[in-house]
């Protein structure tokens, strides 16, 4: 295909959009395609199910938020819907796992990144060796995979509690609780980093493309790879 199209060959907006649906890690005019349509769709399905599961989860989490149940038609309905929303979430996570597990493997620069995470958060880190995903993004990815697995295992026990031993039920309640708290905090940071803190990032998940400047600034090694340059 025309994956190696040069920068001088200009594409129309429609052509860029079409390209972003099918191919990632390719240049299109002054943009770079970061996520295919399939990945973006999966991500937003995951996000929708996450928020539905979280809202219905908050109904059971604390009586101060039990009023949220009204959105879903009452506490009993919220309780009924919660596991189904959560199954949708787990299936979306599984799909994203299949799409990303190879790109999320450990790489040479990750250790250095993790050691200097403080500098990264102060925007003081030199990012020369950061590939398509930095070590923090990988950590978030694997945490979500692990968290979804924990939620699924404990959730099934809580869905059919009397089929399981009392001790298993109690472990499930605690595991579900701690994982839930971690998920909410993790997602607060995920949304903040991809919108307010890092301008130009959100479009990677909406239109699928980022600017070349963005790619060079946040993921320079990925940018070099995309342009076919030597690592």
């Amino acid at each position: 295909m025309d994956d190696h199209m040069t920068d001088t060959h200009l594409l129309s907006q429609a052509q860029i959009a079409a390209r972003a649906r099918e191919h990632e890690d390719v240049v299109a005019n002054d943009l770079v395609v970061r996520h295919t349509a399939r990945v973006r769709l999966t991500h937003w399905l995951l996000a929708i199910f996450f928020f539905l599961a979280t809202l219905t989860g908050f109904v059971l989490y604390t009586p101060y938020l039990a009023g949220l149940a009204a959105i879903f038609g009452g506490g009993a309905k919220a309780r009924f819907l919660h596991p189904w929303f959560s199954l949708g979430f787990v299936i979306s996570v599984w799909s994203l796992f299949l799409a990303w597990r190879r790109r999320m493997k450990r790489e040479a620069g990750d250790h250095e990144w993790r050691r200097n995470v403080g500098a990264y958060l102060r925007y003081e880190m030199e990012l020369h060796e950061v590939g398509k995903y930095n070590a923090g993004q990988k950590l978030f990815f694997w945490s979500v995979i692990l968290g979804a697995a924990a939620m699924l295992a404990s959730g099934i026990i809580m869905w059919f509690p009397t089929s399981f031993h009392w001790i298993l039920r109690m472990i499930a309640y605690w595991l579900h609780e701690v994982t839930f708290i971690a998920f909410v905090i993790g997602v607060i940071y995920h949304i903040y980093m991809s919108t307010a803190a890092m301008p130009g990032t959100l479009r990677a998940m909406t239109r699928g493309t980022v600017t070349k400047d963005w790619a060079r600034w946040h993921h320079p090694r990925w940018y070099r790879e995309v342009r076919g340059e030597k690592k």
């Binding site: 506490g75 009993a76 009924f80």
Partner: protein
């Protein structure tokens, strides 16, 4: 509403319970030594609460074939969502200190214990689904129940049962509907031997104590009142001839609200809520302190390089 039915405690309450008037705490006394296992109380319970055969097949845990082979004087193996009062039966050979043996047929009425500190109520996440009245009775409000079965896990006596059709949990109400009209519970009314008594708990504890004394004098050295302190005492108290082994009657030796429930509800949840709010503030602080990581424009950076 009569003052004894005012709400003293409510599950998942965010404001103080509404009861302002004091009411005497009531209780059932079950003297297992005078129970003849006639099951009149079971029938009365089914009759009064209109549970007779409504959904037994659906909610009884054991299949019918197993029931036919049950081989005991017990009506069915376990409590069910539509069977709130079960006389448990146990054959026991007591080996005494003088080397002799004594044979017992132990009958113990099994139902909700109406704990002073109810584990079900502590575990319940749905506001008002489980309430404790001023008179100490613990009652489920099925309209508020969301069917999560947390109460089943929180109950140290394994009493609440889910009805799979309505997806709500049910148990003995201590005939709270009868109590509100000044009537005694149906099981009490039907008991032919007087082994079941109902009244103010203070009085019943005294009666039970006297009966235990009597039993000790007639050769049951281990006789005792069962009113477990781990759950703050119960609204159903027993006289047990073999009081050192309540397990023989299907009663837990030292029941208490599981610490895993109380820590989960009273420590983990508020701490988690705090952590989530702190997460939001952390993001806000970061934004105010460090702002946005703006992408420098290529043209400008190239100019700088030149």
């Amino acid at each position: 509403m009569p003052s004894n039915m005012e709400i003293r405690r409510s599950s998942a309450g965010t404001s103080p319970a509404t009861a302002v008037r004091a009411a005497p705490v009531v209780a059932k006394l079950i003297d297992t030594t005078t129970c003849i296992g006639c099951k009149a109380c079971e029938v009365a319970c089914q009759e009064w609460n209109d549970l007779l055969g409504t959904e037994v097949e659906e909610t009884t845990p054991a299949p019918l074939a197993e029931l036919a082979d049950f081989g005991t004087y017990q009506t069915q193996p376990d409590l069910a969502a539509d069977f709130w009062n079960l006389i448990r039966f146990n054959e026991h050979v007591e080996r005494r200190s003088d080397g002799t043996e004594r044979f017992h047929w132990l009958m113990a009425k099994n139902q909700c214990m109406h704990c002073d500190d109810p584990g079900c109520l502590s575990a319940c996440p749905s506001p008002g689904a489980i309430v404790q009245y001023a008179n100490g009775v613990v009652d489920f409000q099925q309209e508020q129940c969301i069917g999560c079965e947390y109460c089943v896990t929180g109950c140290p006596f394994d009493i609440p049962r889910l009805n799979p059709r309505t997806k709500k949990v049910y148990k003995c109400t201590l005939c709270s509907d009868r109590l509100s009209y000044g009537l005694e519970p149906a099981c009490i009314k039907s008991c032919p031997t007087g082994c079941l008594q109902f009244g103010a708990k203070d009085n019943l504890v005294q009666i039970a104590g006297r009966r235990v004394q009597q039993l000790k004098e007639s050769g049951f050295e281990k006789a005792a009142v069962y009113d477990p302190r781990g759950v703050g005492g119960t609204g159903v108290i027993y006289v047990l001839a073999l009081g050192d082994q309540p397990e023989l009657y299907g009663l837990p030796k030292d029941p208490h609200v599981p610490w895993t429930v109380t820590i989960w509800k009273n420590v983990l949840k508020p701490f988690g809520a705090l952590a989530m709010v702190a997460g939001l503030f952390g993001v806000l602080f970061h934004f105010i302190r460090y702002g946005r990581n703006e992408v420098p424009h290529a043209s400008k950076s190239e100019e700088r390089e030149v």
